[in-house]
């Protein structure tokens, strides 16, 4: 690249095509095979228990940010693991030196939650559910449950660790076309909910803290983004099939591990919706692929990576003609503005990483998390729209004695944070020589991710010295096994056999409606396909368009269909009655019929009107085609007929009377 001809935008698009990036819509299995897409899941699911896992606070009672009774403050320090190692994340979190503020509400948090009391006995209800789900996941159940402390220094748990225990190892779930192996299932306490994270302070509320949660971990057996989503859905449906897990916002969350060929495991944290998974995993895999290309590029330029280092100079605001407002605001006694030279990094900063993101963002995201400097905090020499003039960049290059192939940053922030900031910049750039940093990344709805933390390893485990191991006897496991619900995959095949359309399955499984459907078919002998679509189409529509009464339960639908059978009504009336029952579940079903203006009319009475209507159509109908005639007559009779005679039958009768053979 010649001086003066470098265009960051052009470089960005060039790098994007150089790595062979395709959008997910365009991507085929061949693309994923080319970059070696590999992904696995950690699916979290809150259990529906009365109490929290290690104390007797109520589970599932939430409060707003401003509702709290007291605040307290903690700092987290890394400690050694059981095997005598410090964990990488631990040391990074310590570097950030955050002050953690907890807001507690007496109703939902006790002295255990804020780590001023040792744990009480593990909640037996939660343990039972975890064993049940482990059995459904075909996991090997442990002989004795050991509570382990898993360090989290981000402050999300006031103790600085999560109490967690393995219930089963080595299982599998069947997908439509393959099996996904499971590594383990653990029972653990949920973390606090973050309220803010600004500078050196992070705030949490403790209502969700300590609620029982299970985590199902799969092997990286998914080879394209859609498989990841299918596996995730399967695990969630399996959890829900027990009817003993929480549903709704935040009750199920998943972390997705992704790597590309030659890449390393990166964990995308807290994906809120399964439908985000395909886009996120697709982009992450290509981000890694891009970073491998960056590695090749700088390895060629920098002969001795071990000696590579940044050069930096504190610069005076007044010496330059800065117009960018954030820099202007930073020009005061408490802050520093620093110019940094990155030898050999020209073309790297604007290298494509994710849609709308480039390598420079990797540095900037880490500055926010590790050095705690709020954005905007950085300008660089390869921005699409330069916030620093070309003239100023030239002076900065002279000041830093930059060479042609170098790139430059200008960062600013509180003076005390600048040593960490410089370390962070250098560290991230050095990592580019290695390839892909092991990290956890936060996800966004648009399919992109940003750096969250360094990926923790097994080193952060420590036996919980506050609790004794819990033996699991064969008898109690067998007792749970006897009452297991059927497998989701078997339910899937059964629905298929019943000819229930596949577009209803997601809704049926996500709300665990299968047991209701099965019971109606078995006990009331209602047509399976009709039952399936009644739930999967009618109920789904009603849920989306009417306001659900707090008293409505899915059991009401069984009552409804039994009533229809007993009253010898046609089952199609159920669809008209449903919205009323949904909003007023306590109304007796006779009244429901009245409210939808249903009249009990005999088959003969209805059919008697057909001749008259045929005659009438002959007079009023503009077209005399038989199909149109039938449609018009059906329209006239539908209200009266629904519930009294199957519409299909009515239609046939009309046709017969009109002299049209079937």
């Amino acid at each position: 690249m010649k001086k003066g001809t470098f265009d960051p935008k052009e470089n960005y698009f060039q790098s994007r095509s150089a790595i062979g990036y395709v959008t997910r819509r365009e991507a085929t299995q061949a693309d994923y095979d080319r970059i070696g897409f590999k992904s696995g899941l950690e699916v979290h699911q809150q259990l529906l228990t009365k109490y929290k896992l290690f104390c007797r606070c109520p589970a599932g009672v939430y409060n707003h940010d401003h509702e709290y009774d007291a605040e307290l403050i903690r700092h987290m320090r890394p400690t050694l693991s059981e095997l005598g190692e410090y964990d990488g994340t631990a040391l990074m979190e310590f570097k950030t030196r955050k002050e953690i503020v907890y807001r507690i509400k007496n109703e939902t948090a006790c002295t255990y939650d804020v780590d001023d009391t040792p744990p009480f006995k593990i909640d037996s209800e939660a343990l039972g559910i975890a064993i049940e789900i482990s059995l459904l996941s075909r996991l090997n159940i442990v002989g004795e449950v050991h509570i382990t402390r898993k360090q989290y220094l981000d402050g999300s748990i006031p103790t600085g660790f999560q109490r967690t225990a393995i219930i089963g190892v080595e299982g599998e779930i069947p997908l439509k076309h393959k099996k996904i192996r499971l590594i383990q299932l653990s029972l653990e306490e949920d973390a606090c909910r973050e309220m803010w994270d600004v500078g050196h302070q992070r705030g949490f509320k403790t209502d969700r803290l300590g609620m029982p949660l299970i985590e199902t971990v799969t092997y990286p057996d998914c080879f394209n983004p859609d498989e990841v989503r299918e596996a995730c859905d399967y695990i969630r449906f399996l959890n829900r099939s027990t009817g003993k897990v929480r549903t709704g916002m935040g009750a199920g969350r998943e972390d997705v591990n992704v790597s590309c060929r030659g890449g390393s495991r990166v964990e995308i944290k807290g994906v809120a919706h399964t439908k985000w998974i395909p886009e996120l995993t697709h982009n992450e895999c290509f981000r890694q692929w891009a970073l491998l290309h960056v590695r090749e590029m700088i390895r060629q330029r920098v002969k001795n990576p071990a000696e590579w280092k940044i050069a930096s100079r504190v610069i005076a605001y007044n010496t330059f003609n800065f117009r960018y407002k954030p820099i202007r605001l930073a020009a005061n006694g408490k802050n520093r503005i620093i110019a940094i030279n990155l030898p050999g990094f020209k073309g790297v900063l604007s290298f494509f990483t994710q849609p709308g993101k480039m390598f420079a963002d990797e540095i900037s995201d880490r500055l926010k998390v590790i050095a705690c400097i709020e954005k905007p905090h950085m300008c660089h020499s390869e921005e699409f729209t330069a916030n620093i003039s070309l003239k100023d960049w030239d002076s900065i290059r002279r000041l830093l004695k930059s060479k042609e192939n170098d790139a430059q940053l200008v960062i600013w922030g509180p003076e005390a944070d600048m040593p960490t900031a410089l370390e962070t910049v250098e560290e991230r750039c050095r990592m580019a020589f290695e390839g892909i940093p092991n990290e956890t990344r936060k996800s966004f709805g648009n399919g992109t991710t940003i750096f969250e933390r360094v990926l923790p390893g097994a080193d952060r485990m420590y036996p919980d010295t506050d609790s004794a191991p819990i033996p699991l006897e064969d008898e109690s496991i067998e007792e749970i096994r006897k009452n297991l619900p059927s497998q989701v995959i078997d339910r899937y095949h059964q629905l298929k056999k019943w000819n229930v359309p596949e577009d209803t399955y997601h809704y049926i499984f996500s709300r665990n409606l299968y047991p209701h459907i099965e019971r109606i078919i078995r006990e009331l002998k209602v047509d399976p396909r009709l039952t399936g679509t009644f739930f999967g189409h009618h109920l789904k529509f009603v849920e989306g368009h009417y306001k659900k009464s707090a008293e409505f339960t899915y059991d009401k639908l069984f009552d409804l269909l039994r009533y229809i059978r007993d009253q010898h009504l046609d089952v199609r009336i159920a669809g008209d009655m449903l919205p009323v029952i949904f909003e007023h579940p306590k109304m007796d079903l006779d009244s429901v019929l009245t409210s939808i203006k249903f009249k009990k009319v005999s088959r003969e009475e209805i059919l008697a009107k057909v001749d008259f209507l045929i005659e009438k159509f002959r007079k009023v109908g503009r077209s005399q085609l038989p199909d149109i005639a039938i449609r018009w007559i059906m329209g006239e009779l539908r209200g009266l007929a629904t519930g009294n005679i199957p519409l299909r039958e009515l239609k046939d009768e009309i046709g017969r009377k009109m002299g049209i053979a079937d």
Binding site: Y68, D69, A70, E71, L72, I73, R74, H75, M76, R77, T79, L80, S81, E82, L83, G84, A90, N106, T111, V114, D115, D116, T117, L139, N140, I141, V142, G143, E144, V145, H146, T148, R149, Q151, Y152, L153, P158, T159, G160, F161, T164, A165, I166, V169, E170, I183, Q184, V217, G457, A458, R460, M461, Y462, P463, T465, A468, P469, P471, L472, D474
Partner: protein, 461 residues
């Protein structure tokens, strides 16, 4: 050494390991009726049952395998974990005060003890520096482990050894002494050292932690920093307990060894000064005195050590309907001193009177303290109180029951003369009896009351 390879395993579990020719730290593949399990065999805590083998699985978690389900074990490797707190040379910085840390067995930095499943402390300056590097900015540290006992196992022998060690260190010229100590009997030791080490030229700070230092949110590191700061830089040359003020990581309080008490079984802010206010507040940067008067630091090395402690003093916690045989058994066992912890202003029932008379006749020194913890013994208010005094029971003012026990033990280690004993009991060494009780010396606020709730919302408790 054959036991070593089966660390903690016994009975059937031990037999199982032997049968399949495997050992602790062996990497094993176990076939069981519940499926296959792979991992490293870990030691087992001695008190756990003999029906399970502990495995660390590859993801880092521990699980237990029921030996009754095992059909075979294959050892595929062996890797012993060496658990060591990283040691770094503690730097010496010219100009910083010299502080000596005396260890008694508290948990400042700790590691796992497989024998008990609990934690055992790390202690050398190098280890401490590895765990709490900030200490190097506060002082130049030396450490000495005098003994390693759990707080509840501290006793007369340890008290004497500790006092003598303090005397020696002061002579050698340290600028302050910090004593690491388990928290359960921290306040007993605080009182003991106040009586045994008098005319102190330097601060003696007792410190512990309520959350062991193997946890990220431990109070150990901050307590240690506060203690080192108070010992090295503080001007208050008294025996004091330094522990969290609020439960938040904000500041510590320095409590007089004679007026402090552990008031909650697990809270971080468990230590409170009773019947008075603390001596000072301490942060990492400063010490803010609360008491206007205190014993100031001096440059001389004069200290009086009185290393005496009798193990013939006991306590009787009164309850309604108590029978005289409880007191008689103490007298018959040969105890020379008894601290009664009485109700209200210092009372016991009439049934105890004959036993009190027998105590008096035998020359047993009997003192009265109160179960209410706060407040003075007032035995003149009711007749019963006067009756008891006539039977030789001596009111101990507002001395805390534990402190009265410590002080009487210390006195009876020196004299048996009733007159002398009484005079020493009533001559405060450092506020174990105070002349007056300030209004803010008794604060147990009641939750649920609007103004208290408001206070708690705004101020960290």
């Amino acid at each position: 050494m054959s036991d070593d390879i089966f660390q903690g395993y016994k009975g059937e579990a031990l037999e199982t390991l032997k049968k399949f020719n495997t050992r602790v730290w062996g990497q094993a593949r176990m076939e069981t009726t519940r499926g296959t399990f792979v991992g490293t065999i870990l030691p087992r805590a001695e008190n756990d049952d003999d029906k399970h083998i502990v495995l660390k699985i590859p993801t880092g978690y521990n699980i237990g395998i029921d030996i009754r389900t095992i059909t075979s074990i294959t050892e595929t490797g062996y890797k012993k974990a060496v658990y060591k707190i990283p040691e770094k040379q503690f730097p010496v910085t010219p100009g910083l005060p010299k502080v000596k840390l005396l260890g008694t067995g508290g948990t400042i930095a700790s590691r796992l003890d497989y024998r008990t499943g609990a934690v055992i402390p790390a202690f050398t300056p190098g280890e401490l520096y590895g765990a709490v590097p900030e200490l190097a900015d506060i002082c130049n540290l030396e450490t000495e482990k005098i003994f390693a006992v759990f707080s509840e196992n501290m006793g007369p022998r340890q008290y004497v050894a500790l006092a003598q060690a303090i005397g020696k260190e002061i002579e050698k010229g340290v600028d302050g002494i910090v004593i690491g100590h388990g928290t359960d009997t921290l306040h007993h030791t605080g009182a003991v050292l106040t009586f045994m080490c008098q005319n102190l030229p330097i601060p003696i700070i007792l410190v512990g932690s309520q959350r062991s230092s193997d946890r990220p949110s431990s109070d150990a590191a901050l307590n240690l920093m506060h203690a080192m700061h108070a010992a090295g830089h503080g001007d208050i040359a008294e025996v004091m307990v330094c522990m969290f003020g609020p439960t938040s990581d904000e500041y510590g309080l320095l409590h007089k060894g004679t007026r402090v008490r552990k008031m909650h079984s697990s809270y971080r802010s468990t230590f409170r000064t009773i019947g008075d206010v603390p001596v000072a507040r301490v942060s990492r940067k400063e010490i803010i005195p609360i008491h206007k008067k205190y014993n100031k630091r001096r440059n001389d090395r004069n200290v009086n050590i009185y290393p005496y402690f009798s193990d013939e003093v006991t306590m009787l916690y009164y309850y309604p309907g108590i029978k005289p045989d409880t007191l008689d058994s103490m007298i018959n066992a040969g105890y020379r001193g008894i601290i009664i912890v009485g109700t209200g202003l210092g009372h016991v029932n009439k049934e105890l009177y004959p036993a009190l008379e027998r105590a008096k006749a035998k020359g047993v020194h009997v003192f009265m303290t109160v179960q209410t913890i706060w407040g003075y013994v007032h035995m003149f208010v009711y007749d019963t109180g006067r009756d008891m005094m006539a039977k030789g029971v001596i009111p101990a003012g507002n001395m805390l029951p534990e402190v009265a026990w410590v002080k009487l033990s210390w006195i009876l280690g020196q004299t048996d003369d009733p007159q002398k004993v009484r005079q020493m009991m009533f001559t405060p060494v450092n506020d174990e009896i105070t002349l007056r009780e300030p209004y803010n010396g008794y604060l147990v606020y009641q939750g649920g009351v609007p103004e208290v709730e408001d206070f708690i919302r705004r101020v960290h408790k």
